[in-house]
Symmetry: C2
Subunit: 526 residues, 2 copies
Amino acid sequence: MKITGEMIIGQSSVWGTAGTVKAIDPAHNTELTPDFGLATEAEVDRACALAELAFDTYRETTLQQRAHFLETIATGILDLGPALIERAMVESGLPQARLEGERGRTVTQLRLFAKVVRDGHWLGVTLDAALPDRVPPRPDLRLRKIALGPVAVFGASNFPLAFSVAGGDTASALAAGCPVVVKAHGAHLGTSELVARVIQKAVADCALPEGVFSMLIGEGRKIGHDLVSHPAIKAVGFTGSRQGGLALVRAAAQRHEPIPVYAEMSSINPMFVLPAALAANAAGLAQGYVDSLTLGAGQFCTNPGLVIALDDESLQNFIDAASLALQAKAAATMLTPGIHKAYVEGVAKLSAIAGVTVQAQGQSRVGGCAAQAVLASCDGDTFLSTPALQDEIFGPASLVIRCRDAQQMLRIAQQVEGQLTVTVQALAADGGLATMLMPTLERKAGRILFNGFPTGVEVAHAMVHGGPFPSTSDSRTTSVGASAIDRFLRPVCYQAIPAALLPDALANDNPLHLARIVDGELHLPG
Amino acid sequence: MKITGEMIIGQSSVWGTAGTVKAIDPAHNTELTPDFGLATEAEVDRACALAELAFDTYRETTLQQRAHFLETIATGILDLGPALIERAMVESGLPQARLEGERGRTVTQLRLFAKVVRDGHWLGVTLDAALPDRVPPRPDLRLRKIALGPVAVFGASNFPLAFSVAGGDTASALAAGCPVVVKAHGAHLGTSELVARVIQKAVADCALPEGVFSMLIGEGRKIGHDLVSHPAIKAVGFTGSRQGGLALVRAAAQRHEPIPVYAEMSSINPMFVLPAALAANAAGLAQGYVDSLTLGAGQFCTNPGLVIALDDESLQNFIDAASLALQAKAAATMLTPGIHKAYVEGVAKLSAIAGVTVQAQGQSRVGGCAAQAVLASCDGDTFLSTPALQDEIFGPASLVIRCRDAQQMLRIAQQVEGQLTVTVQALAADGGLATMLMPTLERKAGRILFNGFPTGVEVAHAMVHGGPFPSTSDSRTTSVGASAIDRFLRPVCYQAIPAALLPDALANDNPLHLARIVDGELHLPG
């Protein structure tokens, strides 16, 4: 499949006439062909109007049709073969194995949502029978959830497949019955076009209305603002920086009709290393931590940016071992020149903070957006008195906090901002301290994990990739896992509706074989 | 129980020192005793700090404990006996039978949430087993929902019991495990104190931390802003005007950590009367409509403010019959002098709009905040070109729109703003038109009802009392019915957590007998 630089607006390929932009090879800091045309406001409007036009038809496709559509996209992505991986490698600087793994994750995710759609638990079907003899009589009441409306999706720089054009936000919105308008991320424009053409073809192959999917190209804040402000758009999915996410949150709040924004933003993913675990295996933990920290040039939302431990000999052993491990890590190409620049500046700012000691650095390499890993440390008092130490540095930099005692460790847990993840390294002997920490950790994070490392976000039913502000703009939701579909739904109650007008999901004989709450009791289909 | 004019802050009764305010008898426009003391900022802070302190303990009370607490409140409200009804009558001008019915609704609602808590579906328990042999291995993943944190509740003027101190917002927040800080509504201060003392006693009787419940008294915007801006508050429930709701939405968005606001605001509840239904029973529909319109002096969020029908002879019969029925309606006392003033102004504004004809008025009465019901009409073109005709007039005023044809009826459906309810009067012969309208109605409202009237919101599992903006600030939720609890929850994923640290809800042997999704399949307990 040839990359043309066009946008995908319904079933059309459209050359944007608001200027051009080039994709970049960050490993060589060179421009790639072809040029990409930028969207005018009219093109944003056209994509949104098509989505609006498609909505009523698309949201009432059968569960079977919608699941098949998601599976068609999954197959289409695999059918792109090596061309997709090659383009993604050049645009992102990420290695082949990582991108092949990410493609697998993207496909698994689409198939998971196909299963979720078919199961239909998300419909939340709830029936209360009429009680005509009660005083006053109770009418027949039936609840199902329906799609919110067209959704704007802003992909992430760091997952050109799994959190981008056909990533979790798109998959869950399409699963819910929402048409999607994606704004392609500038860090992987060609990759985006390839995937967008797969979805465009799946829309046609599944005989869906063309407005079900569009992909726009644009630079800077304006296109995001135009897209989020468009009256047809009813929700927003975003993965990226805190600044970028908050700009969309503000734009959405300023609309005549405010809409929900699911922005996954910044997280430094504290790791609490409890004393017995640290004493038992300082070197092993250090190696696992440094591997997690430097994976993918540290460009994960769940990168372990903070280590909290008691200041004892074991911690010194941990820092020494981590320093050695870090020094062995080669510099890795970051996703874009802008991300690399921000990383270098973030590290410089961290190093300059009074009380912070740089413990070790990874290998360096000149040019090619190469990130040199950094391990720093400070004491608990410094951390507690320096809010800037909670700023996310996107990349392979991390800070070890030497705590005076368990009380200080708890105080730090209480003071950290909201997180996607919190990790605890603990043995049975650490149980008392772990028990003391748990209530605070639950309040701080969407996912709590023990004796592992936070990078690696399983696509599963029970996953939560979300958390309190500022890790996301809406802690009530997740952007990974089956319940991501819930973000794009709202309940509707049907009262005394004639049977002929009832949606199939609510019919008496349960033709869709759904789990249902009937008069307050949950029933499985059967 | 004596009314003292004090606030309830945890287990203390506190006389607010920021000034005093009096409760009003709207039927006689007179002041009532005693005075009520207004909260200082320090008192707002004290209530919120206590709530924060209570949170971790309260959210981990057992399902049994929490259900019992809700039932204790319900019993306590009944035990207040006639004193509660008498005070509410004097403060609200509402008749005894209505308030006794509302008390029943309040008690039913608390008991419904006790059942909801015990069932535990709201925990959303989802388990994915570890797959140690997979490459890479999958860790054990377990999801449950936990309470968001302390909730600020702003009660409604028009339901001094069911949407106030112990109303749906409070009941669902307490059910979720959230401490509650209520701001008492100025329209029923004594009633609020009586109910607050019941909750305060239930907290003590159930041996819960005192911060689980507080009730503050304040005037004007400042106390609302202070309460919503307090860092301990993590969500807001509100029922009231659009202006008041949007002020809280703005305050919540301006916080360092934005929080969700569930504001139920304004709705004019269109009723589509289709031709066959109208021809068959114009007089009967007119009587039902006027009864619904004037119930409780028209002071319902679900009051039918708009009737849409084809302009034919049957519609004229409907208007004639409705006019007669309306003229027979006595003027009824409104809740407050302010609400009465706004109603009179709203009716004057409506009557002055070009193209609007006043068809009939109810009986008038001088003094005592008495509302004279109003029936007006206009043609479809006037409605479509006059946005002001969608402004809610809180009270017994309604507008009949004479549509040229079915297309204009559909256009009006498309143009109305978001609503709590949409009603359709239809016979089998209206099926074609009803089918054409349904997709639009689903997008406009939280509840669609056929051949009934929208006042009367059943407390049930399948109820939705919510809807698209501006009827609420968050269409994804409901403020009545079992799923109101979902507003105050967020998911947490527990990854590879040692069994000793797992919450009971997630334990392998399912000690709480919960429905669970295990490896993607829903299982009932037992």
